[in-house]
């Protein structure tokens, strides 16, 4: 089994301003996610709904290190945090979740298909493993254009058992394409644990089998993720070759709205297990680190929280006040 990277950056490498930004970003992700079930139960949001609570460091430690636009990001249906990190307005995200004309996909995509191509965000994807073959094409195009840009592609542990992922890995390894793969190993493919879904749980080894180097990283710690991502991104820009980061993490809530906190997850994991992982919460850990280094006081942390909550509430108010898409847009955008 690949060793887990726990290396954190040297103290003087970290700027207070950057950390404050990342702290605020993670908190915004958390507060936005906390609001969406409420709006679902108010029947303001429909469809499926997959939250990112607990996994924030995987996005906040990587996407802000990219050159956007220029680089590209692809991810799964658990995509709200990724859109936020790419710079999509919370208002446009919330409006999309509520199926409004002001949504980032004009209300045609919904939660699983947030998108913002002008900011390099090519979107969520509703199919497990689906973005990985697409990343092969994005990576091929980036190499073809030769401008030194890279593609970051997120996917889950469940996707590692999809055939298309392995076809794409094989070709990315073969053609040597500038793609950073982020495996969001949150331990469960819906309700099926990693141990119950593969005879070879060493995912780094599987990437290596396709000619893609990689390592496992503690995904519950922002500074560790950021450090690993920075190294990986620099390496990809220098060599042009793909790299694979398996991020060990945990989702606090159920797989989706049908598997919420009060229901199904008890069939495949215990409340004690969830509580144990919550002790490693990436937002709390970053706050503790920043407080210890004198970057943040308790009062400042509370003020940031108030700002972030207000931003989410503003996004909700904007979305609720936005019109539904006009009916005559039904047949628009089928073709370009």
């Amino acid at each position: 089994m690949a060793k887990t990277t726990v290396e954190r950056p040297a103290e003087d490498d970290i700027q207070r301003g950057e950390l404050l930004d990342l702290y605020r970003l993670m908190l915004l992700m958390r507060r936005l996610e906390e609001s969406v079930y409420r709006k679902f139960h108010e029947a303001k949001i429909g469809g499926y709904l997959h939250r990112y609570d607990g996994q924030e460091a995987l996005v906040a430690g990587v996407i802000p290190q990219l050159r956007l636009p220029g680089d590209y990001v692809l991810c799964t249906y658990r995509d709200h945090a990724h859109a936020l990190a790419c710079g999509t307005e919370p208002k446009a995200i919330m409006a999309e979740l509520m199926g409004r004309a002001t949504g980032c996909a004009l209300g045609k995509g919904g939660s699983m298909h947030l998108t913002d191509p002008e900011r390099g965000f090519l979107g969520g994807d509703g199919i497990v493993g689906g973005p990985v073959p697409v990343s092969l094409g994005v990576g091929y195009a980036l190499k073809y254009k030769g401008e030194g840009n890279i593609c970051v592609c997120y996917f889950g542990d469940g996707a590692m058992n999809q055939g298309g992922v392995h076809e794409a890995f094989n070709m990315v390894g073969l053609y040597k394409l500038p793609v950073l793969y982020i495996l969001e190993n949150n331990q469960f493919a819906m309700g099926t644990s990693v141990e119950r879904s593969t005879g070879q749980p060493d995912f780094v080894l599987k990437a290596q089998a396709h000619g893609i180097a990689g390592e496992r990283v503690d995904g519950m710690d922002l500074l560790t993720v950021r450090e690993a991502a920075n190294r990986a991104i620099a390496r990809i820009r220098e060599t042009g070759e793909a790299y694979f980061l398996e991020m060990t993490c945990y989702r606090y809530v159920g797989h989706g709205i049908g598997d919420d906190n009060t229901g199904g997850h008890k069939t495949y994991r215990t409340e004690e297990e969830v509580a144990e992982w919550r002790l490693r919460d990436p937002i709390h850990r970053l706050r503790d680190t920043m407080e210890a280094r004198g970057f943040l006081t308790a009062e400042q942390a509370e003020a940031i929280d108030r700002e972030v909550v207000a931003e989410v509430e503003e996004a909700i108010a904007f979305a609720e006040a936005s019109p539904e898409p006009p009916l005559d847009s039904l047949y628009e955008n089928v073709y370009s």
Binding site: P117, L122, P133, V138, G139, Y140, N170, L174
Partner: protein
């Protein structure tokens, strides 16, 4: 004008478009070093190099994803499937990704990609290699579906496909690759989508088909002319978009129609076409629209069984006589 084979016309279209636009590239199994399974891309690796003529492993999901992803960020890929039967491996990338990304993104992401390769039935290739599945794609919103019947159309439609900003399902017919025809030299020669061609004029009955089915219709029309039955033969060229105007204008003149296709009859493109003619020209029809198609069985291997499963000009003649009876 030059006389060339259907497969050469396809190569000419790709070559001209790759010379015109550096964002166009071709990827697929055996397209480069092997010179193309059906020699469609012969010589192109030598001309354009390995970055633009990309040999892939036998990985249809990878090929489809490669083309889709590259199209989403500004290139104009042509992905060749060794046959459309193998594209079944790639259905998720085709249907759930390429066809839908424009709609799902509210029109913010474009996907200008051509998926092409041979389709069609015959030559004892049996169940897994001999089939025609155009209805699957025509059924899916987001695709345009192109099925050229002549060398000139092979060139003109493929050039239009490469310049289109949408995912194109471009189905060639393996049985037509060797057919010869006049092809315009003009590098701006394009055949627009959604404009059917009247391949033979006639006043008694309208025969509607596409791809190799057009040849069968023309052969049947020739035979029927000896019995003083004049058939109008329409080549649809593209199933999506569909030129119903040309079809309806002809049916209003002849008052009879037969639709002919190689694919299975059940829930097929011919079913849709027949339904639309009935819906839109019911009062002009003197008889129900006849349908000719493949037998609803997996393609058998034995010569006599295969012959019985594939529609012939005699099947079309029989359908015409039923319609005119």
């Amino acid at each position: 004008m030059a006389t060339m084979r259907y497969q050469q016309a396809l190569r000419l279209a790709m070559t001209e478009e790759m010379e015109r636009d550096p964002n166009v590239f071709l990827c697929g199994e055996e397209v480069g070093q092997y010179q193309g399974t059906y020699r469609v891309s012969e010589g192109m690796l030598q001309k354009f190099g390995p970055q633009r003529i990309v040999d892939t492993p036998i990985s249809e999901i990878g090929i489809a994803g490669m083309a889709t992803g590259a199209a989403m960020v500004g290139l104009r890929p042509i992905a060749e499937f060794m046959t459309w039967s193998f594209a079944l491996e790639a259905m998720d990338q085709l249907v759930n990704h390429a066809a839908k990304i424009t709609y799902m993104s509210g029109g913010r992401i474009h996907c200008p990609v051509v998926f092409r390769g041979p389709a069609g039935v015959g030559t004892q290739l049996s169940a897994q290699h001999s089939q025609s599945l155009e209805s699957w794609y025509a059924h899916t919103p987001g695709f345009k579906v192109v099925m050229p019947a002549t060398p000139a159309d092979a060139k003109g439609l493929l050039k239009t496909a490469i310049r289109d900003n949408n995912p194109i399902i471009f189905m060639e017919h393996a049985g037509l690759y060797g057919t010869q025809g006049e092809v315009p030299d003009d590098p701006e020669f394009m055949v627009p989508f959604g404009q059917a061609a009247i391949r033979r004029e006639g006043g008694d009955i309208t025969l509607i088909s596409y791809s190799r089915g057009v040849q069968l219709c023309l052969k049947a029309a020739e035979t029927l002319a000896k019995d003083k039955i004049e058939c109008e033969v329409i080549d649809l060229r593209t199933l999506v978009p569909l030129d119903m105007e040309t079809v309806l204008a002809s049916v209003r003149k002849t008052h009879h129609a037969v639709v002919a296709q190689e694919e299975w009859r059940n829930v097929s493109f011919g079913s849709e076409l027949s339904a639309r003619i009935h819906e839109q020209a019911f009062d002009d029809l003197d008889a129900p629209v006849g349908r000719v198609g493949g037998a609803d069985v997996p393609m058998p291997y034995a010569k006599n069984l295969e012959r019985a499963a594939i529609p012939t000009d005699n099947d079309i003649i029989a359908a015409v006589k039923r319609a005119l009876a």
